[in-house]
Symmetry: C2
Subunit: 202 residues, 2 copies
């Protein structure tokens, strides 16, 4: 079975053996002739694929009644894959979604690591530090690097920890957040596992 | 008495009657002949003023031993003005500093309102919402505008509230945060009040 998660910049595939990426800019989906089950947050790719009979959009079969209309299909599908937990998906944005007893409780969107680093740098060259992911969060910072790291990371940690649910880290930057959430499970293929569960139900 | 707080873009004056601003780009400090007590985070203006005998740099007289070296003098002076509280200074950055029994406990730096709005917009046009400052923080969001507002504002609120100290809102964007911190006091002249206390001690 071939699965694909399409974002703004890449096609992320999972076949029976491995996951790999292709660039949205250069990849031609018509080169694939077998059936592909996909989700897409990229509207121009979605339009193109609607005309390809072997590309099957999982979103079409999704019951979205528990979610809100403008919520990205990737977040919806990830939530469908768990029964209780907090999904922290760290990419260009960090989306945090809470699922309890298989119901979506809501979620929020926080800037991703690169976006936040650029933000501090843009505010002032004096804030152009890289983040300290091993920051001691028990006490308030007394140096500039920790002052911005705490602002970005400790505030996120406090919120996520407050739900008292298992934490699942996913997305391209999941590893960076592991030190902040030592109890969390890293599951970079969460979305694909969830897609498989949905396909079985079809 | 004439007081001045010099930032990256403006001279912020307080005379006996009112406060007003002049642009760093166009204002000539030599047009003032009376004594001016000032602080400055603008190093090029500081250099220029060092040669002007009637411009008196308060930083010279400041005991900074309780603070860290790279901490902006405006934050230090604001902290010197209170004995117990959290100072939330909302400008291009939002600095949060905690003072207990007249000692600086530490602080952190969070992006300001405009910076954070730009950040979300840059991540994706789908996140180009203005913030909802009246967001209901008791439950997790189920719409896009609240999902970004919660990410930015609720996380800040939880952290600031956790100190269980009086909250003082200052800086150009203080009013925007009032709905988020209904118990807080807005004091846009905190820095000047603190400067006056320091001058009296000289």
């Amino acid at each position: 079975m071939l699965l694909c998660d399409i974002g703004n910049t890449s096609y992320h595939f999972l076949d029976d053996e491995r996951d790999y990426k292709e660039s949205v800019a250069t990849f031609d989906p018509q080169t694939i002739t077998e059936d592909v089950y996909y989700i897409s947050v990229n509207s121009s790719v979605s339009k193109r694929l609607a005309a390809a009979p072997n590309w099957i959009n999982i979103e079409t079969f999704l019951d979205r009644s528990d979610y809100y209309e403008s919520m990205g299909v990737d977040r919806v599908v990830a939530c469908e894959g768990i029964s209780d937990g907090v999904i922290v998906d760290a990419g260009s944005a960090i989306t945090v979604d809470v699922v309890k007893k298989s119901h979506f409780m809501g979620g929020f969107i926080y800037p991703g690591i690169n976006a936040m680093a650029s933000t501090y740098k843009t505010i002032s060259p004096a804030l152009a530090y890289s983040f300290n992911f091993d920051i001691a969060i028990q006490k308030l910072p007394k140096n500039s690097q920790d002052a911005i790291s705490y602002g970005f990371l400790k505030l996120l940690k406090s919120e996520v920890d407050s739900y008292r649910l298992p934490i699942i880290l996913t997305g391209g930057d999941a590893e960076h957040l592991k030190a902040l959430f030592p109890e969390a499970k890293i599951d970079k293929l969460l979305l694909f596992e969830s897609m498989k569960k949905l396909i079985i139900k079809l």
